[in-house]
């Protein structure tokens, strides 16, 4: 019983040591990890992109493919089942294969850097939104590149690649990205 009392006493004392302001987190600039920020941006892109009409008709799901692995540690997965473009979002983690032509949006994992030319050649002019965090992705023909600048997530976009594929991205988000012209 002495032991229990001692523990309870210190419990009470220490409850006071929780950092004050803990309950009053400023909402203006919360700090988040990089994967959450990237996931939020991807959701925005999916809502703001226009695919050619025939690409989405007769589809039941909007297919989001993480090629080569999940670089978001699961933080993108809560989008599963949500709605975008009047379709249900379906997220899959896949290897690179011809089956990925079914995907409406693909994110290429950094592990596949050595295969980038092959992968970009496959998606060239296909109506699939391509994104990656591989440095130089946009320069080589990818549509959206995630990078970091001054401790903040930085976007690069190759609008011409998207245009040639028949995709258009609303200006509201496109203007926030640095334009890359190869």
């Amino acid at each position: 019983m002495d032991l229990l009392k001692r523990v309870l006493y210190v419990m009470a004392a220490l409850a006071l040591l929780l950092p004050a302001g803990h309950g009053a987190r400023a909402q203006v600039h919360p700090s988040l990890n990089e994967q959450k920020i990237q996931s939020g941006l991807i959701y925005n892109f999916i809502k703001a992109t226009h695919w050619p009409a025939n690409r989405l008709e007769k589809q039941t799901t909007l297919n989001i493919c993480l090629i080569g692995g999940d670089p978001f540690d699961g933080y993108l997965h809560p989008l599963q089942g949500r709605t975008a473009q009047k379709l249900t979002i379906d997220i899959r983690v896949v290897k690179f294969s011809p089956n990925t032509a079914d995907c409406h949006f693909v994110f290429i994992h950094n592990n596949l850097e050595s295969r980038l030319p092959e992968i970009l050649a496959f998606f060239k002019n296909r109506p699939t939104l391509t994104a990656s965090a591989i440095p130089g992705f946009a320069q080589q023909g990818g549509m959206i590149e995630f990078s970091q600048k001054e401790h903040r997530v930085h976007l690069l976009m190759n609008r011409e690649a998207a245009h040639r594929a028949g995709l258009s991205i609303e200006n509201q988000i496109a203007r926030l990205a640095e334009e890359v012209r190869p």
């Binding site: 523990v7 210190v10 803990h22 600039h29 919360p30 920020i37 925005n44 699961g74 809560p78 903040r152």
Partner: protein, 664 residues
């Protein structure tokens, strides 16, 4: 870096930090902001500062320690069905299967089925048994598909993880429930083992969960002397769950495992010693909660608390019953751009109850042992992006050895963004166990004479001072290698001393002579070694890995040490080498081969051996895959280890195992 000044009241007197409230059960920051990052407008997302101060493990390339990570993919490709088998490629780690149910795993020497210089944890929960001073691998049967990674840190982990991490730490980390959604059923059968595992993961709003159950059974191994099957078969079942949301994780398991073993039963009457077959019953469960929060100023706080109940019923030895309660808090913050500080404190209570047998008595049978600990560490930037000095120490007070200090200093130099050179000096201790301080256990008997191990309450902690250096190079996306070298100085190592004979009149037996033997700290030693590892992705379909370990250990016991304690000098393999190849033959067929060479254990008469394991995987469709796993393919059986008392040592047999896995 624009950070708010850290709060001063975190540095209040030690007595307050020494024991902590159940913070985990205090309501976490209320609010529905769990998944709001998905609904933030892009302008806001691009404004947010990305946190870099956190307990997230440093990018592997730059960590100032000898770390090797066994990934989930490594485990899947190797076909390893137990955690100990998954560790065979790690340089510096000795893995030996002693018999069907006992594995001996250690880092940098001193291997034993109860290796006491290695700390093992699963998701932050210590699975090292403090009574025996070692880890019972037979009761750590985690579902292999649910392991995210196994981090192996060779070298003293005393500062961050506390006592008994003398030669290293093995951290088994399971996947977040977010990553194990959907169902999985896997069943396998082979000539040595069979198992069935089911797991289902789902989501309820922002909370992700999984539930699992598994059952397995293993045959016995074979006796080396050709006398047939060993008495070491084992089987068990386990079930558990895990729930994760943005800040909180709750997980738990319960298990019941039976293992067959042999034991000598002693008496003062003829025949004095009888070898008996027994079945050990293990049972237990745990419940763990982890909570973390990132604060506005870039700092973060983590709280871990768990309850762990274990019961080990060894009919001819004793029954060990223990409830462990643990609470730990860690706070990471960066008061200035050049200092990243971590402070933490912890409290552990072990409530033990033992039932003794005439052969082995642990006194007191009921005990409460407490461990209070505190650690602090500062990573100082001497030159941005290139030179860092980390200084830290852990302070612990425990009921076994009193006050312990385990400091360390690490320097890391990053010549460019793909190379790291590091060096470290550390101190670590291995605290006494009740088997060394409080036991009475008969080791042998004859007519009117008995030899027994008797506890020594003055037994002290074993000590280590370690000097390490390392070099790591991620040459390009396809090739990386890692080298580490160490020089260890040990002091106060455990020895057994023979004391003068005593005559015992216990009123029950006729007077007999007792030969007492007790643990002392009469040995010191030095060891040095080199560990190398390389990884090469030859092509998108072919990956190779290799590792090499070299070690020498020299021990020095004073004259009071009786039994050949320096024998541990001959109980480790001076060299180990391994090579692994993964080949994706087609889109649905993969072939994985692992070869291991382990040098002889001179002291135990265990010869050197070459072991070959293979895993052929055929993916029938997106949801079903079949694995054919072969282990020890090169010979029908070989010995990897020996038993401490001559019993319970079997040879590892060639095994073939077929497994079907269905995910949905």
């Amino acid at each position: 870096m624009k950070l708010k000044r850290h709060r001063n009241h975190w540095l209040r007197p030690l007595q307050y930090i020494a024991a902590l409230p159940l913070l985990a059960f205090a309501a976490p920051c209320a609010g529905a902001e769990t998944l709001d990052y998905l609904d933030l407008p892009p302008e806001q997302l691009l404004q947010i500062e990305v946190t870099s101060v956190s307990k997230r493990p440093e990018k592997l390339v730059s960590a100032p320690a000898a770390i090797y990570v066994v990934t989930a993919e490594d485990i899947a490709r190797s076909g390893a069905q137990t955690i100990s088998d998954a560790l065979r490629h790690v340089p510096g780690v000795q893995v030996a299967q002693a018999d069907s149910n006992s594995a001996a795993v250690s880092i940098r020497g001193f291997n034993s089925v109860l290796a006491n210089k290695l700390l093992v944890m699963i998701d932050g929960r210590t699975v090292y048994n403090p009574v025996f001073g070692g880890t019972f691998w037979e009761i750590q049967d985690v579902v292999m598909e649910d392991i995210d990674r196994i981090e192996v840190i060779r070298g003293p982990g005393g500062t961050l993880w506390g006592a008994n991490a003398v030669n290293g730490v093995i951290n088994i980390i399971t996947r977040n429930a977010r990553q194990t959604q959907g169902g999985l059923v896997s069943g396998g059968i082979g000539n040595e083992m069979s198992q069935l595992t089911t797991r289902y993961g789902g989501a309820a709003g922002d909370n992700f969960y999984r539930l699992y159950a598994r059952q397995f059974s293993y045959d016995g191994s074979r006796q080396g002397d050709g006398s047939g099957a060993s008495h070491d078969a084992w089987s068990g079942r386990r079930a558990g769950f895990r729930m994760d949301n943005d800040r909180l994780t709750v997980q738990g398991d319960a298990y019941r495992i039976d293992t067959d073993q042999l034991r000598n039963d002693f008496s003062l009457t003829v025949p004095y010693s009888v070898t008996r077959e027994q079945t050990l019953e293990y049972g237990g469960g745990n419940l763990l909660t982890r909570w973390q929060d990132d604060l506005d100023d870039g700092s973060d706080i983590n709280v871990l608390t768990y309850l762990d109940y274990t019961r080990r019923d060894e009919p001819y030895n004793f029954i060990d019953n223990r409830l462990t309660y643990d609470l730990e808090v860690q706070y990471n913050f960066a008061p200035t751009a050049r200092h990243e500080i971590s402070v933490g404190s912890g409290y552990r209570l072990l409530v033990t109850n033992q039932k003794n047998t005439p052969d082995t008595i642990l006194m007191p049978t009921d005990r409460n042992d407490q461990v209070f600990s505190m650690f602090a560490q500062d990573k100082i930037t001497l030159a941005p992006d290139s030179l860092y000095l980390t200084l830290g120490s852990k302070f612990e007070h425990n009921d076994f050895s009193g006050f312990e200090v385990q400091p360390n200093a690490r320097l890391q130099w990053l010549p460019d963004d793909h190379q790291t050179v590091w060096g470290a000096i550390s101190r670590a201790v291995r605290t006494p166990t009740p088997l060394e301080t409080d036991v009475f256990s008969v080791l042998g008997a004859g007519p009117a004479i008995e030899a027994a191990l008797r506890g020594n309450p003055d037994f002290k902690s074993e000590e280590l001072t370690a000097y390490e250096i390392g070099y790591r190079n991620q040459v390009n996306a396809a090739l990386s290698f890692d080298a580490a070298a160490f020089y260890n100085v040990y002091d106060r190592l455990a020895t057994l001393a023979l004391l003068p004979n005593e005559t015992v009149n216990d009123g029950v037996n006729p007077p007999y002579t007792l030969i007492p033997i007790e643990f002392r700290n009469d040995m010191s030693g030095r060891s040095y070694g080199l560990e190398l590892a390389a990884n090469w992705k030859v092509s998108p379909e072919l990956q190779l890995k290799a590792s090499y370990s070299y070690m020498r250990l020299m021990l020095d016991a004073t004259d009071t040490a009786v039994f050949p304690q320096e024998g541990a000098e001959d109980l480790y393999p001076p060299q180990q080498f391994s090579v692994g190849a993964s080949w994706d033959v087609t889109d649905s067929l993969s072939l994985n081969t692992d070869a291991y060479y382990v040098d002889e254990l001179k002291g135990d008469d265990v010869g050197d051996y070459l072991r070959l394991d293979m895993n052929v995987e055929y993916r029938i469709n997106d949801n079903v895959r079949f694995n054919l796993i072969g282990q020890n393919l090169l010979d029908s059986s070989h010995r990897e280890f020996d038993a401490e008392n001559g019993l319970n040592a079997g040879e590892v047999q060639r095994s073939i195992y077929g497994k079907l896995t269905w995910t949905f």
